[in-house]
């Protein structure tokens, strides 16, 4: 029995996601059956964290527009142990669905008070916490009338490059889910739902910001490799 369940990770090639056509390898990956390599060696990433790095609402002279959010959760390994002192980075669009990136030409306003990038380090219980604003949905050119559900990009290192993860956090009950090839590339329903954050009243701060919980599980060094599938 494999520890990585069928369909819980996206395949390398998922035809509805058009950007992969010329960018996804077509030959089988070479399976390394013994973990005798330094692929499992510790990697710590980049640890210089600035004072406002985890508060995306305080990085400019004024406050960004949008619904203020607290995004918090735990980073765990597959055995449920907290992943401590690991770098968590996020980036996102502004409330209008526009990224502070030169390539983004969506005709929605930029917000001079919002960059949309943050980083922090998990504590001894594997917890992280960001203050930000809710990103807007935005169109993209994958197919006619294609829209990305609102999401926040996450990058986490964990204890080695085996646990390296880049993912996207979504918001509950987004009506765009059925139409989004990125979300749908994860074929297992339960695995898809684990990318969806949960509204959490206990994280919510009265008169200030709504709380969303997003827990993240990283592969450990003993994981069985991905099962290739179509």
């Amino acid at each position: 029995m494999t520890r990585i369940l069928e369909g819980s990770q996206p395949p390398l090639i998922y035809p509805p996601y058009k950007s992969g056509a010329l960018r996804s390898p077509t030959r089988p990956l070479i399976k390394l059956t013994r973990v005798f390599s330094d692929f499992a060696a510790p990697v710590y990433g980049y640890h210089a964290i600035g004072e406002t790095d985890a508060d995306l609402t305080r990085q400019h002279a004024g406050e960004p527009l949008g619904e203020r959010l607290i995004v918090s959760g735990r980073v765990l390994d597959e055995d449920g142990r907290p992943v401590r002192n690991t770098l968590v980075e996020l980036w996102q669009a502004n409330a209008a669905g526009r990224y502070a990136h030169v390539v983004d030409n969506h005709p929605a306003p930029l917000d001079p008070n919002f960059t949309g990038a943050g980083r922090t380090i998990t504590d001894d219980e594997g917890r992280y916490r960001f203050l930000t604003i809710k990103p807007g949905a935005y169109p993209w050119r994958n197919h006619t009338n294609a829209w990305r559900p609102a999401h926040i990009h996450f990058s986490i290192f964990g204890e080695s490059f085996l646990s390296r993860l880049v993912t996207q956090m979504y918001f509950p009950a987004d009506p765009l889910f059925p139409f989004d090839p990125m979300f749908q590339s994860v074929r297992d329903e339960a695995a898809r739902q684990r990318m969806v954050s949960t509204f959490d009243l206990s994280l919510t701060e009265p008169e200030w910001a709504l709380g969303y919980r997003f827990d993240i599980v990283l592969r450990g060094p003993n994981s069985t490799p991905f099962e290739e599938r179509t």
Partner: protein
């Protein structure tokens, strides 16, 4: 609905092992979040012992077009037990240049060729790719256990080549598809 009632919130009652969170693409807009610190291209500090090298990574898609929006992460042993990490995004020519030292041995006395581990991210990849760079002409290539797991006709895709136009400069091409598709590893 509250957090307490949600099955998605990982709790102590969840069945172990937990299932790893699904990967999603890094997308086209990561650079302002992940690669603003260009110092991460200078992996070796002034006090790092070893031969300084400049390593240019080029990323090329299945049509032979350079990929201008990839993120390349690398890490390698400086010497046994000490690792160096680097991260850059590719430029309009699909390239990024790391300054580091020639890799040392991961473990004392191991039978392995000098190598650098790479992790490749980009729009179009739903999961990142793992590959490994070796150095053309290294006599230890013959006995490296990971290279031995690669079909002989594809081993060349893992070799960085000397750039004769500059001293201590190497180039490594990451081909995503085609006849020269780079070997990627399933870990």
């Amino acid at each position: 609905m509250s957090g307490e009632s949600s099955l998605k919130h990982v709790s102590t009652s969840d069945e172990l092992p937990l299932v790893a969170t699904a990967s999603q693409t890094v997308g086209p807009f990561f650079s302002f979040g992940l690669t603003t610190n260009t110092a991460l291209g200078r992996m070796a500090g002034p006090d790092t012992p070893g031969e300084r090298i400049r390593l240019v990574i080029r990323v090329i898609d299945g049509a032979g077009t350079p990929v201008p929006d990839a993120m390349v992460e690398m890490w390698h042993a400086e010497r046994a037990g000490t690792f160096l990490f680097g991260r850059l995004d590719t430029d309009p020519a699909g390239a990024c240049a790391f300054e580091t030292v020639f890799p040392g041995q991961v473990t004392e006395g191991a039978q392995e060729a000098a190598h650098i581990n790479l992790c490749i991210f980009m729009r179009g990849l739903l999961r990142h790719l793992y590959t490994r760079l070796y150095f053309d002409g290294d006599p230890a290539l013959e006995t490296d256990a990971i290279l031995a797991a690669v079909p002989p006709d594809r081993r060349g895709t893992l070799l960085a080549r000397r750039d004769d136009t500059a001293p201590s400069a190497w180039t490594f091409d990451v081909h995503l598809q085609g006849d020269r598709e780079t070997v990627y590893f399933d870990l």
